[in-house]
Subunit: 424 residues, 2 copies
């Protein structure tokens, strides 16, 4: 019966209860200890101006590293406490922890030294190698299930392909081999960087991570009794519950008006934690469903990231100092009718985006135009009009929740969100 | 035959050859890449004055973190390359790597934020938890072999103890249980901190680490064909060879006259790497033999660390700006005939150390004295007299080598250093 589920649940799954208790204790201690690091952080030059406020206060940066340490402590302490549970997955657990620890180190290095892009891209790939190894050892098969095809369509495909490959038989699984490992390596790079570029407003980095983590936890709980994946769901929960609790603490400091910035450290830490869960929890496709806003923001940004459309140094919304509201930021002026392939591409992209309402374009004299920057935050401002920072962040976090609900809808093949409520 | 050993050795142990080649490549790339980090390090305030030089140049600090990253990359890349070899030890390997990665993060945090002592002490303990777990899983027994006792003595002991514990039988093994885990946890704390306090002269931190690493490698090679420990020796080599090569690169930048400081990052990184090897290589007692100078320096420092004898902020030798030579540094003035237990202790310690020639004491008027600081570096200066920094560092590194030879002498129970040359 659904009403008696909570109590039964906590007694039957004592290791999850234990994880919740331990995470809560560490999170509470982290909450108390964070302010004591402010002087050291400011002193080390780890500080930033909050450009979204009228008085532009200087606040500590890179506070994510403290939360990262707290997270590592929690996950390590958890092993001896629930040794019988963890020992069966010890390789996955240690591999995941190693990848996360490595990423926190890299993120903090980036905050301190401002690493170059070329370093930022290849290091997550190497950091995720331990995970690939774990995956390789315990799965070996790199088979991906394709959606079933209608019979008549399958016949056509088989007929065509068998002209080239004699004896070809269509099956709805494909062994991706090496490609699969490249996919997993790229997952880590994508997760870390997509959170990093969808940021810049008080509470947004942590807020989106909380929603994603909450969605994963919900998904895990819903599938906890599905025999085939039960072990993966448990493993994923042990990574996600402490992450959720500790991020909640960080959110309380980072939400509008922010007392701290979370730094690249947090974005990398969060991204890698999600990638780890996706890989060792064998739910990378589901994970990507929870990243819909990030994927949209990334794809939307591509024309600027690849310099097809002018890309200013900062693409964050601008504070109107008179009204105190956030407004769209614009690119530098550019000629819409530029020549060459790049010019043509630019014209097509700007026209399509303008027609679909993704950007606003305004004339800037002398045949020049400028348009709003290609980010989800700017798009939200087009929808909302000038808004204060608090409501803008709130809107974007609600959007993330809506996207997660949508993801559950897509994923609800019998035991999606429905399973959580009705199963058992 | 001893003369044909090298070539056979490299073909028979292809994974060691592979480790050497990979380490050499990464070390070479690290050598090239280190200077490109100088501007970012200086810019981030990670810089220090070299007080041992007349012109007190400002040079980049915390360069150890780059070497630490290079080390992690090497050890990770090694897994897929020699998967068949590593997969059998994967848990130990990942656990060790996790502890090291964590320690590099902590060291770098310390360099940037100047952590407090209370954090520095408990974090290595937690960072070594993964190792304890690995040890627990694969050994379970925590039995230590005691030296055999003469029969008549054994009889006396048994008679006495059996009065308290009925049925007591003396065996020359003792199950230390929890105590053993405390010992291992303390090993990590000791290794990291003992290198950290035996430092402050160009090249000394890296130099001593190179000698210790070299000694461990020699020990491992000597025991490579001893069936009972062969696997541990291999595992240890895979941690030590890359460490040695990358430290060699760092040494080339840090040796007199230093272009960089290695930072706490390196001391922590080196210390934890040694602790990892001691634990997962099951050679913690041998490891401690290679730490004789560090143990001496630590014990020698205890009266100052515990504030029984006056402890100035810096205990490094002083540069005589006229001669350009390093000279002994002294404590602040204090009364030798202070009252109370502490005063008595102080008088005994200072008198014993003075008589044994460990310190020099000089009168400072009004019943006050001052004495040379209680460090091995100051002791070396008492022996050598005023010396330039280069020769002082060289002397201390030679001392470390002598200590290692002594350790091999102690350890040579049939297959010590002799085994390397004669066995096979």
């Amino acid at each position: 019966m659904a009403t008696t589920l909570p109590w039964n649940f906590f007694t039957e799954n004592h290791e999850i209860t234990c994880s919740i208790i331990l995470s809560t204790i560490v999170a509470f201690l982290t909450y108390l200890v964070i302010p004591s690091f402010f002087p050291a952080l400011l002193n080390a030059g780890l500080k930033g101006k909050d450009l979204g406020k009228l008085e532009k206060p200087v606040i500590p940066e890179a506070v994510g590293v403290i939360c990262g340490m707290a997270y590592l402590v929690t996950l390590t302490l958890f092993v001896p406490i629930e040794f019988d549970v963890i020992s069966q997955w010890l390789v996955s657990y240690l591999g995941g922890l190693l990848a996360i620890c490595w990423m926190i180190l890299l993120g903090f290095l980036d905050d301190v030294l401002n690493l170059k892009w070329r370093h930022k891209l290849w290091i997550p790939t190497i950091a995720s190698l331990p995970l690939l190894i774990v995956h390789y050892m315990y799965i070996e098969r790199t088979i991906v299930v394709l959606p079933p095809m209608p019979d008549f369509f399958e016949n056509i495909v088989v007929q065509i392909v068998s002209n080239f490959i004699p004896g070809f038989v269509y099956s709805n699984t494909v062994d991706l081999g090496l490609l699969f490992y490249i996919y997993i390596g790229m997952l880590a790079v994508f997760c870390t960087n997509s959170i990093n570029i969808y940021a810049g407003i008080n509470g947004l980095e942590v807020g989106q991570s909380l929603v994603i983590a909450g969605s994963i936890i919900t998904f895990n709980l819903a599938h906890l009794n599905v025999v085939k994946v039960s072990a993966y769901m448990h493993l994923s929960l042990h990574f996600m519950i402490p992450f959720f609790m500790i991020s909640l603490v960080l959110f309380s400091y980072n939400k509008y008006p922010a007392e701290v910035f979370v730094g690249d450290t947090f974005c990398y830490f969060a991204g890698m934690t999600f990638a780890v869960v996706g890989i060792i929890g064998h739910m990378s496709k589901t994970l990507l469903l929870f990243f819909i806003p990030q994927i949209f923001n990334f794809l939307f940004s591509v024309p600027q990231l690849f310099k097809i459309v002018n890309c200013p140094r900062h693409r964050l919304p601008k504070l109107n100092t008179e009204t105190g509201l956030m407004e769209n930021s614009y690119t530098d002026k550019f000629k819409l009718s530029g020549g060459g392939l790049r010019g043509m591409l630019r014209k097509i992209i700007v026209t399509v985006f303008r027609v679909t309402g993704l950007i606003k374009v305004r004339e800037a004299g002398e045949d020049m135009v400028e348009c709003t920057n290609f980010t989800l935050i700017n798009l939200a401002l087009i929808w909302l009009g000038p808004t204060n920072e608090k409501n803008l962040a709130r809107f974007l976090i609600v959007l993330q929740i809506v996207a997660s609900l949508l993801a559950f809808g897509i994923r609800s093949d019998g035991y999606g969100l429905a399973g959580l409520i009705y199963q058992k």
